[in-house]
Symmetry: C2
Subunit: 479 residues, 2 copies
């Protein structure tokens, strides 16, 4: 199997250079490619199919929770963007401006949406009249643009795909509940579909979204111990509804400003799947999100009946699974094995003439590489069990890593030592002072990930300044 | 029922002012609204749900035919747009340009995609190596932007949603077959889902897409007899693959340029549904595309057991249908009847205390307004039959109009008379000279819709110049 070695050689070793390994996987597994539009990638069929599976799963949960989809304009007039002070300060430096249209210079320039709080607030102000109209729980699946200096496919791209939900409510309590409800839904998408455990919590004030009262986050840990902010949900109070005049007549007949939220997940999650699960053989996809859940590779296809049997089984499995039958000419069996392993297909189904004679096939799981002989008549059922087992095993593996590489620290020295050793998350108390966050970042490169909902008492004092502290923060380096 | 009259009064009479009727429906039925971004609308939940149903139906047919979805950048560098001469001439005047990003003027300006032939061709040129890589049959669901002067919601908007498929093939024949295959799929979407009959044919050279060898179209007729170009499919030959250097090594080991197609349908189809089916009561939605297929309106909800029974039936019907239960307080039954009629819900289910006692309810169909009493135990089954009947009846009604308002003409006088009288389609022979198309447009406002696949022999000579003619063209005024 000389092409086996040849093949694996093309991918950088994951322990040698994780960043280069990542880019290799993105390109070799045909997920995405660079384009002549600087900082923007083309998402190829295999990558986009992962996104479609994420979309379908999330959209279904959204709709069950009462979310309605809409589509609002891509272009936002400059005057709209400027209505909320913190927001414009946060986003104006990184927007792209349209200044010409239809052969003429525009009177007012238009930015390509970096996010749509301003557009939604403006439209809500036109539509909202009475408490009867509330809540409005709208969401759009679209692309946004932020003029990033350094970009990496899926993780940080000038243009990226996401969903942005924007809701308005009659009371602060209802809006806060919606903010947390969406965070829970994100946790389900990431844990149940993508098999990546999350840490749920609240961002510290310095890390919250431009214009928000509170930002909640689901944080995940990648292969190298770094954090990926995987989804955020914001509570705005009336920060936007006041400048945008989003008000309604309440049940008592009085005018009141609405309370607002927004929340989003993006194609960044594809980067998360790659970095949380991948290994030196390539991509490793959780069965529930894998575009191809099992690939059938018949062996010795020139022998009578092999192709026919493989096609028969393929058709049978297609009823319940996303299956591929690899009948490519001119590629060796070894090449095919490696190719599909590299693309992260959860299960390989091998069947040669002797297997078929004996009425069996061999299942090889991508996560552990274990092989199992299965009777052809039991295959549909056995494949289902195996896929479920792979899904839960992959989640367990990630959970184990999260646990092992999360340490505690009670002083700076310990913090630095742990960060150097584990390169993971650190639980430590924080006094609430931004200066301590700055100092920790300068010393270790780690930022506060969040104030987790599940608090523990690590010590009585701030890990940085030693002053009294009652909040436990999770810290880590990030993507 | 005083609010009945009040309500209907708000919508312009369809025969008095069709354009105003259309805008009234778009706004009153909550499909879309104007925004502060000039020429761009916000698609509201009810309008977007129609689009989602169109997307799901079409995407399923696409995938079964081998289409793979992708997402390519929104922004196209000026140099890319300019590579194909006819194409840039056609589109450059109506694009929007990004000239600033991240606080700086860009070295090369970027246009927002008006369509993505150039982006796809450029990427295909990077990826295509061998005949083994072909065909590439990619599609993206996205928004595009064209700087239109006059806009109307759904029909002509600066930004609109669509899908654009772009494919490359090893042979001209295969590409031509794909072009026609997609046209057939569009015909199925429009006829089977939207209940609007189509005329399939080829555009005349003056009406084809900028850069195409051939453009095929599905044309539909609206309530007022005007045409809506509802979907197009283009065959490019090697017009783009040559300037973009999209070539491959064929089976004989020689380099060859690929053959290309593109095809699209858009949110324009929502405008088509409104204008093909609507009436003076408002929108009329075909059941298969209706976001709400049936609305349950319980009567005398203060009476014991009415709400409970309605909820029980609602839950039962939800298993198989998209149903809504209207329990809104503070609205009269008459108002609710009119409201849902105006929104085009195919079936209204009325049930009062006496109906419930008798174990029945009343079904009212939106298309004919006929009422039918149905036993509650038979309701799930009966509703299904009724929805199918409405779907096919709506198609039949449109087909009848298309037939009645399509006339023939053998000379210009007859052409003008028929166009004045029927305001519909005219079948007439054409010599192939663009000057005749121009003359007909100047005289009557009608343009050539297409050279239909189903040809008839109307006469031996061109309806305009009287010279020998062997092509029958369908003509009509258009949206």
């Amino acid at each position: 199997m000389s092409d086996n070695k040849e093949f694996v050689k093309e991918i950088t070793n994951i322990e040698d250079d994780f960043a280069k390994w990542y880019t290799d996987i993105v390109k070799k597994a045909d997920l995405a490619d660079y384009t002549d539009t600087k900082g923007c990638v083309a998402i190829k069929p295999y990558g986009y199919a992962i996104w479609e599976n994420i979309q379908n799963y999330a959209d279904d949960l959204f709709k069950k929770s009462g979310v309605e989809n809409v589509y609002f304009p891509l272009l936002i007039p400059e005057s709209l963007l400027q209505k909320e002070k913190d927001h414009v300060e946060g986003f104006a430096p990184e927007v792209a401006w349209v200044t010409q249209g239809g052969g003429e210079d525009l009177e007012e320039k238009l930015c390509i949406r970096p996010t749509s709080e301003t557009m939604f607030s403006n439209l809500y102000s036109k539509w909202l009249k009475s408490w009867r109209d509330l809540p409005m729980v709208y969401n759009q699946w679209c692309s946004v643009l932020r003029w990033e200096k350094e970009t990496r496919p899926f993780l940080r791209s000038r243009e990226f795909l996401w969903q942005e939900g924007h809701t308005i409510h009659a009371t602060a309590q209802e809006a806060e509940e919606r903010t947390l409800q969406m965070l829970e839904i994100y946790a389900r998408v990431i844990e149940d579909l993508l098999a990546i455990p999350v840490v749920k919590g609240q961002k510290t004030p310095s890390e919250k979204f431009a214009g928000a009262d509170a930002t909640y986050t689901v944080e995940t840990m990648m292969h190298d111990g770094r954090a990926l902010q995987s989804g955020t949900s914001h509570y705005f109070g009336q920060n936007f509804t006041k400048p945008f005049d989003v008000k309604f007549q309440n049940k008592e007949g009085k005018e009141e400003y609405a309370y607002q939220t927004s929340w989003g997940i993006s194609t960044r999650l594809i980067g998360g799947v790659i970095m949380a699960h991948g290994d030196n053989r390539g991509l490793k996809l959780p069965p529930r999100v894998a575009p191809i859940q099992a690939v059938i590779i018949p062996i010795a296809t020139h022998k009578e009946g092999v192709i026919e049997k493989a096609q028969e089984i393929y058709k049978k499995l297609l009823e319940d699974y996303r299956v591929k039958l690899d009948l490519r000419d001119g590629y060796s069996t070894g090449y095919k094995f490696n190719d599909w392993e590299m693309r992260g297909v959860p299960v390989r189904i091998e069947m040669g003439p002797r297997d078929i004679e004996n009425g069996v096939c061999v299942l090889v799981r991508r996560d552990t590489l274990e092989k199992k002989e299965v009777k052809l008549e039991d295959l549909p059922h056995e494949l289902g069990l195996l896929l479920e087992d792979i899904q839960s095993n992959m989640f367990k593996e990630c959970k184990k890593r999260l646990k092992e590489r999360t340490t505690t620290a009670t002083n700076l020295e310990e913090f630095c030592k742990n960060m150097e050793k584990e390169q993971g998350f650190i639980k430590a108390m924080w006094c609430g002072d931004e200066a301590c966050e700055d100092k920790i970042r300068e010393l270790t490169g780690a930022k506060s990930r969040c104030i987790p909902f599940e608090q523990e008492h690590i010590s009585d004092t701030c890990v940085c300044c030693g002053k009294k502290a009652d909040k436990m923060v999770i810290w880590g380096r990030q993507y």
